[in-house]
């Protein structure tokens, strides 16, 4: 047989296989269709309209400044929708079809609940590392109170470990030029907010109930769903933005640094702070108050990248000018903390003397309860009725109640988007997620230990606060204070509703 294929033989093979193929086709043999070789979670078996506990996932817009999702890790478990709807009262509370945007208050609770790590904060670690490497930049960082009782968990410590001074040491080791305390600006917030509250109580009753504005998730929620209450929101910026504004004015002036060269970074337990930092309202003299926000989780990643072991790092102290904090500033991280701190200083502003011990250990506003009620008797002002609410679904129930009854029985209401306040924030470590309720209680406990350990318990006693008013702001609610420390809000109602 010849090695060369003859023309005739070739034609035979081609024609033969053609006829065989035609035969296969005609007889109906078709092999298998592609697809269906993967898997799908159990709840999606069966007909699509079968009732299931959880399905689908939340919608995250591509331009969301706070969170993002890796589709490859998503297992469609439905936990994010559960958090968004049942904890935060966002999903399911706006009409369809959509209007201008996909509703998101940036709280990040979905990222806390996501069991596969598909939803994360939108990371700014590389931006911050680049700023640290850039020798022409003066990189300033601030740490929020709730991060000081949680970052340790990322390094294997017990929940509730207080690591404030270790964080300062770690941040300095990582190359930040100055480390400031958000608890300082929390004290500053209290000075402004207590003065504002007393002003409203005595001279501007139409702005009562006074609603707190520290929590950017809550603020956006109010702008979306309760725009009629926007004038009740405190005009005070949050501690993050106050510190940013002060860094680029008072601190820059004091140090003789051009604000253009300052990069203001904040370490927050929160993903919504990224949204807040980018708000156009958070800008003074052409400088954005905060340039980059890192969550507690991101800080852990950054420190590990920089090979800084939090467990071994030397303790260090916050830098002066914006580093001292009172116990009042330190408790901002727990639900009820802002209220307790504000009442301490409001008492002082009204009476000229510090509050009694009962108000320094004000149990009714503490803890994980959804809505806590208390009454503070402030001589000269009278009896002030207060509510403290955490979890935005609870806020919705409370505000709907006020709307239905037509009036608020409270003069002061604190809102925190995340259950338990910032200690349960959407940017907090997930290490103890399985024991999360317990971990949260331990973090709260640590926050109040920080308060008791503070040399001064009230914001107005903070020496650096006294100094900043003497040197820069003159007095609370002064023209300068209004410019740097107060803000305005944007009605977002028509972005979701007709």
């Amino acid at each position: 047989m010849s090695n060369n294929l003859s023309r005739r033989k070739f034609l035979k093979v081609v024609a033969g296989s053609g006829i065989a193929g035609f035969g296969v086709m005609v007889t109906g043999c078709k092999g298998e269709s592609p697809g269906g070789k993967g898997w799908i979670p159990d709840q999606y078996q069966g007909k699509g309209d079968f009732p299931v506990a959880l399905k689908g996932r939340v919608s995250i817009a591509a331009d969301n400044p706070s969170i993002e999702r890796d589709d490859e890790k998503c297992i469609l478990c439905g936990q994010c929708i559960e958090a968004c709807e049942k904890v935060m009262g966002v999903y399911g509370n706006y009409p369809l079809p959509l209007k201008k945007e996909v509703a998101c208050v940036n709280c990040g609770q979905c990222s806390m609940w996501c069991p596969s790590g598909a939803i994360t904060e939108k990371r700014n670690i590389k931006d911050v590392l680049a700023a640290i490497e850039d020798s022409s930049k003066h990189v300033v960082v601030q740490t929020a109170p709730a991060t000081k009782v949680s970052l340790g968990e990322e390094f294997g410590m017990e929940p509730g470990s207080i690591v404030g001074e270790k964080i300062v040491g770690a941040l300095k080791a990582a190359g930040f030029d100055a480390v400031f305390d958000t608890c300082f600006s929390a004290d500053l917030t209290i000075m402004e907010e207590a003065a504002e509250f007393i002003h409203r109580l005595t001279k501007a009753q139409d702005e009562i109930p006074h609603l707190t504005s520290c929590c950017p998730g809550w603020v956006k929620y109010c702008e979306y769903f309760y725009p009629e209450l926007m004038h009740n929101l405190s005009t005070c910026k949050s501690p993050q933005s106050m510190l940013g504004a002060v860094v680029k004015s008072y601190y820059a002036q004091k140090k003789g640094i051009n604000p253009e060269d300052i990069v203001s970074v904040s370490i927050m337990p929160c993903t919504a702070k990224k949204f807040e930092a980018a708000r156009p309202e958070m800008e003074v003299d052409g400088h954005q108050d905060t340039d980059f926000v890192l969550t507690t989780r991101e800080l852990a990643v950054l420190l590990k990248y920089k090979k800084v072991d939090l467990t071994k790092v030397e303790d260090a102290q916050y830098d002066s000018a914006l580093g001292e904090s009172s116990g009042a500033g330190r408790i901002f991280g727990a639900s009820g903390g802002v209220t307790e701190a504000a009442v301490r200083t409001a008492y002082f502003m009204a009476t000229g003397s510090n509050p009694p011990d009962a108000l320094l250990e004000w149990k009714p506003v503490r803890g994980m309860t959804a809505v806590k009620e208390a009454t503070a008797d402030i001589p000269g002002v009278g009896s002030v009725s207060i509510a403290v609410c955490s979890g935005l679904k609870n806020a919705r129930d409370l505000l709907d109640g006020i709307k239905a009854s037509g009036h608020s029985k409270w003069q002061f209401i604190e809102f925190m988007a995340c259950p338990g306040g910032c200690i349960g924030g959407g940017g907090q470590p997930k290490a103890d997620a399985s024991l999360i309720a317990d971990a949260k209680l331990k973090r709260i406990d640590a926050i109040y230990r920080e308060d008791v350990n503070a040399p001064k318990r009230c914001s107005h006693d903070n020496a650096e606060i006294k100094a900043i008013y003497k040197d820069f702001f003159e007095k609370p609610l002064s023209e300068k204070a209004e410019k740097y420390l107060h803000t305005s809000y944007t009605n977002r109602h028509d972005r979701l509703f007709d």
Partner: protein, 255 residues
Amino acid sequence: MAVLVDITKCIGCESCSVACKLYNKLDFKKEPRNVKDGIIDLDDNNWTVIQQRVNKNDDIRFVKKQCMHCKEPACASACFSKAIQKDENTGAVVYYPDLCVGCRYCLVACPFEIAKYQWDEQFPQVAKCQMCDKRVEHGEAPACVSACPTGALTSGNRDELLAKAHKIISSDSRYINHIYGENEVGGGEWLYISDTPFEELGFKTVSDVPVTSYTKSYLSKVPVLASAWALFLAGLAYYNHRCDQNKKSDNDGKE
């Protein structure tokens, strides 16, 4: 099995496209091949996509795109090796790679430009939504439908879904009076209702006449004619062969 898509109920969560990738084991890592002006389109790894559009009022609308599973599929009609077949029980237009010769006539034939090709593969196949034929034949909903949290996707009998769609349109004035997919190129298993005109959402305006009807009258005769022609040629060859042989044996006899 038909599916009704209510565009007004879609929030753009993309549960459907993730469910599709999970169930069909598509590659999450590959960059989408067809992104134009920020809008993702189908490719061999994305059998269904959610496209974000903006209507005249500047309102966001999300549009799910996948195979329409036409009643008279042009792709199946263009396929000479029957690698694309309409399953009469489920309504799914299903692709069978074992029969495919890779000619890509289906890509050209589809009026909605649905079928895509695995350009990166050494032995490429055509890629398109199969309407989860292996689920649907057991009475289960396609993966995308079962994962939809808002009720934007519902599956069921086509006539019942059409009746439901007509009822929604007539009872709610926000909807436009058009069910996309009811009559488009002869109708399909996927039906869309919307409050925004379909042209604004990137839907193709197509004729109600099935594409296949233009060619069916004469292309249907091709197999018969081709077989007849082959038989004729075979006969001719046999005849010639015999003539030659006879001539040869005649000559042999003479010698």
